[in-house]
């Protein structure tokens, strides 16, 4: 159906990135004033690649994902930058053009599986409408595709379960249904916004490996949003760490985890249990994430950073070393990173 994603020849011959986000800026205008939720966010994603988008709650991960889907609504608006998807700037598309793309070439999965399916509509209704929103097929054919998709994500007896309502599924099963819906059109890109956060650990792991398997099977690019760095380790190729609406560190996962440059990334890593040696205390980053309506001047992390000085009152530029970039005036040197 979708020659691009599954055909290895096109995958390799096209050097153009699937997704190229450049200087994205999103603002929200409320009665508290105007706040910048996303400020100058740039990253690229090749076909089949997995990007981990990591950061505390409120750092702008969801808003980034929703911008790519063209789902930013009042009081928010994209007010700068480009979202080049396969060469087309999504930020410039009309509502109708975006509607045709959504669910077909870019799909999204959300955080709370208990809330993502409409409680009063059958699973079959919610799947068939997705098929028929983009492909002109018969009801029978749409139903067959829906059933196959349910089978693929590991739902037992898909034919029977198709006519059930969401409340008849467990949280984990509902998230599988949502994934099945996202995969219906074998999209080029799936944005997964904390899809396992609300689930317990074993189910989290199952879903994670299921998504990994299916996306690599179809060559689907994946943006995995999470506040948990440890999830990203085994999953992603690249990681982007967000803070205060900016990407503060960006690079290959192994490298970022081995030698973080930004002070915030370091703090995040120290709060991951598995990474700490036994006996070490887990160190949570003290303080709170800033509100978009009262962003600190300069580096947004400044009020919580023990290395902050006068220089940090200026916004740090994005400093790139090879494919590893960061926004910090006083980055951790690789020696210091290893020693601490």
């Amino acid at each position: 159906m979708n020659g691009f994603a599954s055909d290895p020849k096109t995958m390799h011959s096209s050097s153009r990135a699937l997704l190229d986000v450049r200087g994205l800026k999103v603002k929200f205008k409320t009665n508290r004033g105007e706040g910048t939720a996303i400020n100058d966010v740039s990253f690229t994603l090749r076909r089949g690649e997995v990007l981990g988008l990591v950061g505390e709650s409120g750092s702008g991960k969801s808003v980034t994902g929703m911008s790519l889907m063209g789902l930013i609504e009042n009081p928010g608006r994209i007010c700068g930058g480009q979202i080049l998807f396969d060469g087309i700037d999504l930020a410039k598309l009309s509502d109708l053009e975006m509607e045709r793309l959504r669910g077909k070439r870019i799909a999204m999965i959300f955080q709370d599986p208990m809330m993502t399916l409409n409680p009063v509509l059958r699973i079959s209704t919610q799947m068939i409408e997705t098929v028929r929103a983009h492909d002109d097929v018969t009801l029978v054919e749409a139903r067959r595709r829906a059933r196959d998709a349910l089978g693929q994500v590991g739902i037992p007896r898909p034919e029977e379960r198709l006519d059930a309502y969401p409340h008849e599924f467990s949280g984990g099963m509902r998230q599988r249904v949502a994934i099945a819906i996202a995969l219906l059109h074998k999209p080029d890109l799936i944005i997964a916004d904390e899809p396992t956060t609300a689930l317990d650990v074993t189910i989290q792991a199952q879903i994670l490996s299921e998504v990994q398997k299916l996306t690599s099977e179809y060559g689907t690019a994946l943006i995995w949003i999470t506040h948990d760095l440890s999830i990203v380790c085994g999953l992603a190729d690249n990681v982007a760490v967000m803070y205060g609406g900016q990407i503060v560190e960006y690079g290959p996962v192994a490298e970022v985890i081995r030698s973080p440059r930004h002070r915030y990334t370091d703090g995040l890593l120290n709060s991951v249990p598995s990474r700490n040696r036994r006996g070490d205390r887990l160190r949570q980053i003290s303080g709170f994430a800033p509100s978009i309506f009262s962003m600190p001047q300069g580096c947004a992390f400044r009020p919580r950073c023990s290395f902050a000085d006068d220089a940090c009152h200026q916004t740090p530029p994005l400093a790139t070393h090879g494919n590893h970039a960061h926004r910090c005036w006083h980055p951790i040197s690789s020696r210091e990173g290893l020693g601490s």
Partner: protein
């Protein structure tokens, strides 16, 4: 589901039975039937004859049983005024009331739901704010006052619409209906408008509140992420969730339209049940009052049952708990 329905039916019958007891006590025990039935200047013999004829000398429980028996057979006795079985008199007036009630509900839904959807989708638009302010007026204006204003304006001042009666009716299924003639329709206008204003306001506000509640839900975001059209989103995903409370309100309002049509029917001289019962109460036509009360009980119980069944078809979660 079937067991639930059976239980629900038994419940309904029980409610009707309880109501027969209440109506019986209200009319026969609290009120003095003798004083109603017999003129004060009747002599002793006449008195005894009537008391015996109506079984008023029997013990209370046997009076109730014969009342119950009559009720079940639809026999409430002859109307004192019309000299015909009370039930028959009332039923002959029912189509007029039903016509008014159905027209008013239809109009309220057809206007209230789209207005509510609009106000929910564009809450900050001038029109939405205007309609919301207007709906407060629609809530607070007394029915009779509204009726009189409408008559003053459309009938007296403009002379466009008739202010009383049903106009020309056409027989359909053996019953006369105003729906089918222009004259009849023009007679329907003012009473239906009077009855609808409140309900339009109510439905509009409920739909608006529902839209405001449903739109930010995660499942709407997900549905949009699937690439559904706006229409599909609104008319399937949003509307089906909103219809649950709206159906309840429509049911209740329909019941009260039939039961409390008294005011409107009196003002517009609409020959329905409400007008009839007021006339009957004025002349203390006891069989008519009893028959009317029982019919209203029956209608209310039936509407509740239908709403409950609709509920189960609309909300699968309710259905599950009833399986």
């Amino acid at each position: 589901m079937t067991t639930w329905l059976a239980q629900r039916l038994v419940q309904s019958v029980f409610v009707v039975l309880v109501m027969t007891a209440i109506v019986f006590v209200g009319v026969n025990v609290i009120g003095d039937p003798v004083s109603i039935l017999i003129s004060p200047d009747a002599n002793q013999q006449e008195r005894a004859r009537i008391v015996a004829e109506f079984g008023l000398d029997q013990p209370l429980w046997s009076q109730y049983l014969s009342f119950l028996k009559g009720t079940l057979q639809g026999n409430f006795g002859n109307s004192f005024v019309y000299g015909m079985p009370a039930l028959q008199v009332i039923l002959s007036r029912m189509p007029a009331t039903m016509e008014l009630a159905i027209a008013a509900i239809l109009l309220s839904v057809l206007i209230g739901v789209p207005l509510g959807l609009y106000a929910g989708l564009r809450p900050h638009s001038f029109f939405a704010k205007f309609m919301m302010a207007g709906s407060i007026l629609g809530f607070s204006v007394p029915l009779f006052w509204l009726a009189l204003i409408l008559i003053m304006f459309f009938s007296v001042y403009l002379g466009w619409l008739p202010a009383s009666g049903r106009g020309q009716t056409v027989d359909f299924l053996g019953i006369g209906w105003s729906f089918f003639t222009w004259d009849g329709l023009s007679h329907l206008c003012l009473p239906v408008l009077t009855l609808s204003i409140f309900k339009i306001s109510l439905i509009m506000r409920m739909v608006r509140a529902g839209v405001r509640e449903v739109l930010p839900q995660e499942y709407i975001k997900f549905a949009r992420a699937k690439g559904l059209s706006r229409q599909r989103l609104l008319y399937v995903h949003v509307l089906k969730n909103i219809m649950i409370p709206v159906v309840t309100i429509i049911g209740l309002e329909f019941g009260s339209l039939i039961a409390f049509s008294v005011v409107t029917e009196s003002i517009f001289s609409w020959p329905g049940m409400g007008k009839l019962i007021i006339d009957s109460i004025n002349v203390l036509d006891r069989p008519m009052i009893v028959a009317y009360l029982m019919i209203i009980v029956f209608i209310f119980v039936t509407i509740n049952l239908i709403v409950d069944i609709l509920y189960t078809t609309l909300d699968p979660r309710v259905r599950l708990s009833r399986d």
